[in-house]
């Protein structure tokens, strides 16, 4: 009995070492996911940021048509990388609404002129209020909202070219 017990502290030490080492070798995902997946879009209403394009409001969603809600900013470098993929999604018939975070009308207009304009609407979220209410923690992020106005999926970071087909399929499935 006693002979066996003498190994206990060593086993405990080895166990803790294993735990720490395994966590270090495979670090936890560093992104913060929204907890609003499978929940209705929170209530909000944003004015448009560029002339001639309407703003976004939560009442726009849930009309039977699934949509993407793209959280972007003209000052966001990965958003430029994402632009061609959003254009491809638009060409595939996906409706994309957008929220511009901490942005200015002239800067957004220049961003759209340079990178293309895939957006049906763009809301002006100057103080990140709507971004926070969506549980989004950065730009770019894209929410897929189904025909009943529920958030189905959150894509964190820029959409890559090889993710477009999957996203189109997901939008079609979210009817």
């Amino acid at each position: 009995m006693k002979r066996w017990l003498i190994w206990l502290p060593f086993l405990l030490f080895a166990g803790i070492l294993w735990l720490v080492a395994s966590e270090m070798l495979s670090p936890e995902e560093r992104v913060v996911r929204s907890r609003l997946i499978d929940k209705p879009v929170p209530t909000f209403a944003l004015d448009g940021i560029v002339p001639g394009k309407p703003g976004v409001s939560s009442t726009d969603f849930g009309s039977g048509e699934p949509r993407l809600l793209n959280v972007f900013a003209s000052w966001c470098v990965p958003c430029i990388a994402e632009a061609p993929q959003l254009m491809a999604l638009k060409r595939a018939g996906v409706r994309i609404d957008a929220i511009a975070i901490r942005d200015r009308p002239d800067a957004v207009r220049r961003f759209l002129a340079r990178n293309g304009d895939p957006y049906a609407t763009i809301g002006d979220d100057r103080t990140s209020r709507v971004q926070l209410s969506l549980g989004s923690s950065g730009v770019p992020e894209t929410f897929l909202i189904d025909g009943r106005g529920r958030i189905v999926r959150q894509h964190i970071g820029d959409i890559r070219a090889d993710e477009v087909a999957d996203l189109v399929a997901a939008v079609r499935a979210a009817r």
Binding site: T127, R129, L132
Partner: protein, 131 residues
């Protein structure tokens, strides 16, 4: 141009973004409310810097979260309501003051358990010495 992009990009980012929300870096006129807001801000995690509270962080998003906290406190909301609103969206991760649940129970109970264990071990070993 492409050679200078890594150097220019942070400058472009810094100049392009509009000024922070009014209540991000301005104290509330009511000292009691400001104290409440400050205490809450110190226990909310900055989501983009991770490891700093929103009270400590210079990140734009932390500024917007501070403005949100101050506006809601000024609007008469209780700090725990605001915390709950954020936890509902970002999970317990956003709070530095974890609530007691099945998942966080070890966090709260382990120190007590270890203390009790220490007392037991100490008593046993002292008793042995006395003999």
């Amino acid at each position: 141009m492409t050679r200078w992009l890594p150097i220019l990009a942070p400058m472009l980012i810094a100049t392009a973004s509009p000024p922070a929300a009014h209540w991000a870096n301005t104290q509330l006129p009511d000292a009691r409310q400001e104290a409440q807001a400050k205490a809450l801000m110190e226990t909310l995690r900055c989501l983009v810097c991770q490891g700093q509270s929103i009270a400590d962080s210079d990140a734009d998003m932390a500024a917007d979260m501070r403005a949100l906290v101050r506006e809601r406190i000024a609007g008469g909301e209780r700090p725990d309501q605001i915390r709950a609103w954020l936890v509902e969206r970002y999970g317990d991760y956003v709070s530095y003051d974890p609530s007691f649940s099945a998942l966080t129970a070890p966090l709260w109970l382990a120190p007590i358990l270890l203390l009790v264990l220490g007392i037991v071990v100490a008593r046993l070993s002292f008793r042995r010495k006395r003999r």
